[in-house]
């Protein structure tokens, strides 16, 4: 009996301690389930949102678009706000998995730049509100690599074996291989895709690992010499380790937009729209940019942010027209090609 008593007493103590550390001071009138990418928001804004609207935010993150798609498809999750990338949005619209937004509840939509509205992935513009955009590029440690890197080929170079980190999602990884081989990111030619796969397969023994957000610690710590990731994240990494440099490869890259959407069947649609509206606010957008490094779609905020940047960061975040002309946006692919992607990816990792 003494064992149980001791256990119970201590557990109760811990429970009360933990509970007292928890917030309980705001009376919530509702909640909203948000799913985002890692390191993609300033989490201190949640407090502001909750204080202003009395809506509780349940925040979680997911690593890549494919994982998000699995979560939505499996039906076991019910997010109210998701922030997929362009190609996933077009897939979700095609498969009728998104709610149409009520823009009367999102007045701050007017602050979003016109160049981010009605893009190819959401032509009618009824399903999404652009959040942030950027490009993909190579990040390398200048103290560990002497040469100037200019091409995607560096990621496949045996000279850097054991020091290369590759991105851990199928479209980005296969896309990089395609770009290096000179093909389109959105090719539906099976031959080209298999060529890209072969390249990735040859690369695998040279890799230190496949990573997504783990790349932050690894690059900042000097654990690996070269990797590939998103421009905004590079700014954060650079802040923590000035030896890092960003490369906009000569073959071109992927230009992406991540936008906020509401999955079909969401129970908290109004709360979700309130959240989206909140994010579009200029002051909130600035805070998000400061913390994540990315550029938002809010025109005013972007201008404010660009003025704070030094020349190098500016060139990373706002690429030249010349580079942008070589970049492509991911489009949704036909069903059978998507299946091929799945198959190739699992085969590569296996």
């Amino acid at each position: 009996m003494k064992k149980i008593t001791a256990l119970l007493i201590i557990t109760v103590m811990i429970l009360t301690l933990a509970a007292s550390g928890c917030k309980g001071k705001i009376d919530y009138i509702g909640e909203v389930n948000v799913c985002n990418w890692g390191e993609y928001i300033d989490e201190s804004i949640f407090d502001d949102f909750e204080k202003e609207t009395h809506i509780k935010i349940n925040y979680s993150t997911v690593q890549n678009n494919e994982a998000l798609y699995s979560l939505l498809k499996s039906g076991g999750s019910d997010y109210d706000v998701i922030i997929p990338s362009d190609y996933l949005i077009s897939r979700l619209i095609e498969e009728d998995m998104l709610e149409k937004l009520d823009f009367s509840a999102i007045p701050n939509y007017s602050l979003i730049g016109d160049e981010y509205k009605n893009l190819e992935y959401d032509p009618t513009g009824e399903y999404s509100v652009a959040y942030m955009w950027g490009t993909v590029g190579i990040i390398y440690n200048t103290t560990m690599i002497d040469e100037k890197i200019t091409s995607w080929g560096a990621l496949f170079d045996p000279a850097y074996a054991g020091n290369i980190l590759m991105i851990d999602n199928p479209r980005d990884a296969i896309g990089i291989a395609l770009k290096y081989l000179g093909y389109s990111l959105n090719t539906t030619d099976e031959g080209e895709l298999r060529e890209a796969y072969d390249l990735l397969e040859q690369q695998k023994p040279l890799l230190q690992g496949y990573v997504m957000d783990q790349v932050f610690n690894k690059m900042e710590g000097g654990e690996a010499a070269i990797s590939v990731y998103y421009a905004g994240d590079f700014i954060t990494m650079h802040d923590n380790n000035e030896d890092l440099a960003f490369v906009q490869p000569e073959e071109g890259a992927n230009w992406f937009v991540d936008a906020m959407c509401i999955p079909k069947g969401s129970d908290n649609k109004e709360n979700a729209e309130a959240f989206i509206n909140f994010i579009c606010r200029t002051d909130i957008a600035v805070r998000n940019m400061d913390v994540t490094g990315y550029v938002t779609a809010n025109t005013e905020a972007a201008e404010e942010y660009s003025e704070e940047l030094d020349d190098y960061s500016y060139s990373v975040l706002f690429p030249s027209e010349e580079f942008l002309s070589k970049c492509e946006v991911f489009l949704n692919l036909p069903h059978d090609i998507l299946n091929l992607y799945d198959e190739l990816w699992v085969q590569l990792k296996a």
Binding site: Y69, D168, P170, G209
Partner: protein, 270 residues
């Protein structure tokens, strides 16, 4: 008698939450997303044989290492003073109460290229080791996490061996090596089998260790299944098929092992 009825709520629970899910997995394994019967999921598994092979190989290596480390440790502990045994047991159980993920994550600080181990080696002018992101790191992670699961059952059984049997053998003139080989070891087998099960099964199906320590390069069965449900390739039917096969293989392994052991003691856990 009325007592039997006490188990009724649990029997219902088992039907709902133990039996039904297994039936569901079997159904999913044999169907496509549109509900037709198919053996396609199983034939697709052929291309994942390397994953099966790797998982079983690494799990086997980890189990053997755990046995080689765990058995002597249990034996040594069983011969120490009771106070020492109590403290030692406490110390072995303590990491088990700390989070499994944290225990795995801890090795990153040590094994990374810029980690503590390599720093120490460089300081001593020794060559650095590149263990991280290799299958060896995964095995290390498995051994580290599951060693207590091997030690506890074996220790539990060894300490329960009737002292008089050992003394009788010694009285009859047997040298210590024979006493061990003929008396102690056979009697400790139920614990050994229990330990092997408790290490091999989680080792073959883990999915976090290979991601954290293996750099996501050596995909294991656990990763493969997770990918099909919540991960990058959504196909619960394929995932169910793989899970089903894994379950059957593990079941067969254990039935085989039970043939070797006496098989009556089920509660050799703690």
């Amino acid at each position: 008698m009325k007592i039997k009825a006490l188990s009724a709520p649990y029997i219902l629970w088992m039907a709902l939450f133990v039996a039904a899910p297994i039936v569901l997995i079997t159904v999913y394994a044999f169907t496509t997303s549109s509900g037709e019967f198919t053996l396609n999921n199983f034939s697709r598994m052929g291309s994942y044989l390397p994953v099966f092979g790797r998982s079983f190989l690494l799990a086997l290596i980890a189990t053997v290492i755990c046995l080689l480390l765990g058995y002597p440790l249990s034996y040594i502990l069983s011969r120490e003073s009771p106070r020492f045994q109590q403290i030692a047991l406490m110390l072995i159980m303590l990491p088990m109460w700390m989070n499994y993920l944290l225990r795995t994550y801890a090795w990153l600080s040590i094994l990374e290229n810029t980690g503590l181990l390599n720093r120490l080696l460089s300081a001593l002018h020794l060559p650095t080791l590149n263990i991280i992101n290799t299958p060896s790191a995964v095995v290390l992670g498995m051994v580290y996490n599951f060693l207590p699961f091997m030690v506890l059952p074996i220790y539990s059984v060894i300490t329960k061996i009737d002292r008089s049997l050992i003394e009788a053998a010694q009285d009859l003139g047997a040298p210590p090596a024979n006493v061990f080989r003929r008396v102690i070891f056979p009697l400790s087998l139920p614990g050994v089998l229990s330990g092997i099960t408790m290490v091999f099964v989680p080792a073959v199906s883990t999915f976090v260790i290979s991601q954290l320590l293996g750099g996501s390069k050596s995909m294991l069965l656990g990763d493969l299944i997770e990918m099909q449900f919540l991960g990058t390739a959504y196909n619960p039917h394929l995932g169910s098929a793989i899970a089903l096969v894994m379950m059957i293989i593990v079941l067969v392994c254990m039935l085989v092992m039970n043939r070797f052991g006496q098989g009556e003691e089920q509660a050799v856990i703690l």
